[in-house]
Amino acid sequence: MATKSADKTLVVVQLTGGNDFMNTIVPYTNGHYYDARNKVVMKQDEVLPISDTLAMNPNAAPFKRLYDEGKMAIIQGIGYPNSNRSHFRGMDIWHTAEPDRVGNEGWLGQAIRELDPNAENVLTGVNIGMGLPRAMAVNGVPVTSVGDLENYGVMTRLEQERLREKALEAFKGIYGQAIGTGPVADYIGQTGLDVLKGADMLADVAERYESDVEYADNQIAKNMRDIARVHFADLGTRIFYTSHGGYDTHANEMPTHPKLMNDVSGAISDFMDDLEEHGKADDVAVFVFTEFGRRMRDNGSGTDHGSGGGAYIFGKNVRGGLYSEYPSLDPSDWEHGEDLQHTIDFRGIYGSLLEQWLDVDAKPIVKGEYEQISPFAN
C-alpha cells in the first residue's frame, strides 16, 4: 500500500523527564494541592482558569488559546499500573506499550509496519532528533532519524563540495557493488543505498519550505519546524516523532519549569498555525505525553518522580476539552502514600489514536482492549 498525502498524520511529542502535571493543569481551588505543595506551587491569582477547579499554567498561555479554540484535548490522570517511577522503565512502557514485561517492539514501529507493510518508503516514519526512539524501533521497519535536516546523509562532514561529491561517488560504488556478494553484504549494501535515497529525498526539503510563521529559537521549536518542513514536502510520512527534554525537575523547578512550558506551548501553537497557513491542519494531530507525573509533595526546590500524569492531543479536528478524571488529591487516595493514582490506562489512548486517527488495528499493538476516548471530530 503506497502512502498518500491525504492520509492522516500523527505527530508525537515526548516530554522527557516526567512533566509536573499538577503544575501544568493546576487544581487551583483544591486545598490538598496547597497543603502538599509548599514552595513548588502555582499561585491562585496567577494561573489561567479553564474551569472552576482547573487552570492552565500561566506560562502556557498558547495552550490556553488552543484550549479556548477547542483544539486541545486534555487527558487527565493517564498512567499505567504498578508504576515504579523509573524514567527508563517508564519510557520503556510508553514506547512498547508493555507495562508487565520488557517489550522489544515499539508501538509506533508496529503502526508503521501496518501503514507501509512492504517497507516501500523509508520516510513513513521520521524521527526528528538524535537517535531513534524505541517507540519507532521494530526490526525490519525502515525509519529515518534526522538529527539535522540540513546535513542528513553520509560524508556530510566534508565541507569541500567537490571532495564530498567524489566521496559520495566512491561510497555509492562501494555499497552498490556490494550487492551480489552474499546475503549479508547485500543487505548492508541495500541499507547504505537506502540512506542515500532518504538523504536524496530530504536533500532540498529545507530549501523548498516557506512560511510566515516565525518559530522561536529553541530546540523543540526547531524540531517542530523541521516536522513542518518534511510534512509540507509531501514525502508520505505518516508518523513524526520528536522529544523535548528537561522535565526531570527535582530541583529548581520554579525557575526552570516556566521556560519548558513556554517553549513547548509556543512550539506547538506555532506548528498549528503553520499547518493552518499551509492548509494542512485538517489531517494532522499532535499527541504530547510524558513518562509520569510528579510527586504530590514538593521537596522544597522541586518535585520527585511520581505517577499519574497527563497527556494532550492537539489538532483542528480534535474535540477540545477534558477527558477522564483528575486524580483524587485526597491524601488517603495517594498511591504508595505519596503519588497520584492514574485514572485511565495509556493503552486506551494509544488505541484511540491508532484506530480513530491512523485506522490501524490497535489490539495486537497494545495487546488487548482498553477504555478508549473519542477525541476526534468526525
Binding site: A251, N252, N299, G300, S301
Partner: protein, 342 residues
C-alpha cells in the same frame, strides 16, 4: 612562623554533613570563603562545577542554588578539575588536568585569567592536579603526569620546580594533591607510590611515609594531603576509604572513617519521600556513615577538617578540639619513645 609548642589533643568531634546527591555531585575538593560558605568542587564525567554552599548547611533547597563554572574547555569552564584554593582576596584558583591549566575566578565566580600549556618542558604541564599557595603567595602545582612539582606566580610565570619519576625516596609517581605549610614545606600525596612525602621549599626530601596496605601509615592510592597550623598532616586514603592523620614527624596518630549524619537537605528530602524511607528501613544503614573514596582533605584556620566524600555526594566535617599550650605547659621534645608514666 614558629610552630606552637604543643596542644592538648582531645579528639575530633564530628561537626556536620553537608549536601546530598543532586545538590552536590561527586565532590572532588573543597575550599571556603570568608563569609561562611564552602566552595565544593564537583567533577564527574561530563559535568564539572563549583557549588557555593553554606557551611551551616541550608535549611531547605533554595530556589537559587549558588554555584559557578560548567563542563567544557572554554574560559571559565573545566573538564577534569582537581583542586580548588582561594587567596586572601577571595579569588579562586582551580586546576584542570584535562585542559592542562590553572584558572582564576573572582569571588563571584567570574573568569579572571588562566595559564598553562601541555608539555614536559619547564613551565609546561601534563595533567596539573594539586595546587597550593606558598608563603610568598606563589602557586605550587603538582604536574602529575610529568611526576614533578612546579612553582609559578599567580600570573603563570614559571619560577622553578623539582621531581622525577620513580619509587625511590623523593621521586614521584602520578602525584595528586599538594599542601604547602606556612614554613614553605611541600607535602604531596604520592598516589602511585602509596605514600606521602614532604619536601623543603628547595625540593629536598624531609619525610616519606607509607607503603601499599590497609594498616596504619599504609595507603591505597592517597589522593589529597592537608597540614594544619600545628603541623599535623592529614592524608585522604582513597582505596581504604579513610583519612589518616600524622604528626609533623610523620608518625601515625588517627584515622577518620566517616561519621556522616543526614544533612539538613537530606533530612528534608527524606521527609517528602515515603518510598525511600521504606527502602532505608530495609537496608543496612550503618555503612552510610563511612567515607567512600575520599578524593581530598582540607583543614581551615578554625581547624575544621573537610573531607569531600566523593562517592556519597557530601562533605563530612570534623572539628579539631585542641588547646594550644605555651612553653611552660609542654615538656621539651622527646627524642625517644618512653614507657614512663607522665
Amino acid at each position: 612562623m614558629s610552630r606552637p609548642h604543643g596542644l592538648l589533643r582531645a579528639g575530633y568531634p564530628y561537626l556536620r554533613t553537608l549536601g546530598m546527591r543532586r545538590v552536590i555531585g561527586y565532590p572532588t575538593d573543597v575550599g571556603w570563603t570568608d563569609d561562611g560558605n564552602a566552595l565544593i568542587l564537583m567533577r564527574s564525567e561530563g559535568a564539572a562545577s563549583v557549588r557555593i554552599w553554606p557551611i551551616e548547611d541550608a535549611d531547605l533547597f533554595t530556589d537559587d542554588l549558588k554555584g559557578f563554572g560548567s563542563y567544557g574547555a572554554g574560559d571559565g569552564q573545566m573538564v577534569w578539575p582537581v583542586q580548588l584554593i582561594t587567596d586572601g582576596e577571595g579569588h579562586i584558583y582551580i586546576s584542570d588536568e584535562a585542559t592542562h591549566r590553572i584558572t582564576r575566578f573572582d569571588p563571584d565566580g567570574q573568569f579572571v585569567s588562566k595559564f598553562g600549556a601541555r608539555g614536559d618542558s619547564d613551565g609546561e604541564f601534563d595533567g596539573p592536579t594539586g595546587i597550593s599557595f606558598d608563603p610568598d603567595g606563589n602557586l605550587v602545582v603538582v604536574d602529575s603526569k610529568n611526576h614533578r612539582i612546579q612553582r609559578y606566580t599567580v600570573d603563570g610565570e614559571y619560577l622553578g620546580g623539582f621531581g622525577s619519576h620513580g619509587s625511590e625516596p623523593g621521586q614521584l609517581d602520578l602525584p595528586w594533591g599538594v599542601h604547602v605549610d606556612e614554613l614553605g614545606d611541600i607535602y604531596v600525596a604520592d598516589w602511585g607510590n602509596n605514600r606521602f612525602q614532604a619536601f623543603s621549599p628547595e625540593g629536598e626530601l624531609k619525610i616519606a611515609v607509607g607503603k601499599l596496605g590497609d594498616g596504619e601509615a599504609e595507603f591505597d592510592r592517597p589522593t589529597g594531603v592537608a597540614v594544619d597550623a600545628h603541623g599535623d598532616i592529614y592524608v585522604s586514603d582513597w582505596g581504604n576509604n579513610r583519612v589518616q592523620m600524622f604528626n609533623s614527624e610523620g608518625h601515625y596518630l588517627w584515622s577518620f572513617r566517616g561519621d556522616a549524619s543526614l544533612s539538613r537537605v537530606a533530612r528534608n528530602y527524606m521527609l517528602t519521600n515515603a518510598m525511600s524511607n521504606r527502602l532505608r528501613e530495609m537496608g543496612r544503614i550503618e555503612q552510610e556513615k563511612y567515607l567512600r573514596r575520599p578524593r581530598s582533605v582540607r583543614i581551615d584556620s578554625d581547624f575544621r577538617l573537610f573531607i569531600p566524600d566523593y562517592e556519597s555526594y557530601r562533605v563530612q566535617i570534623y572539628q579539631k578540639d585542641v588547646v594550644v599550650l605555651d612553653r611552660t605547659q609542654f615538656a621539651a621534645p622527646l627524642r625517644n619513645p618512653t614507657l614512663e608514666v607522665t
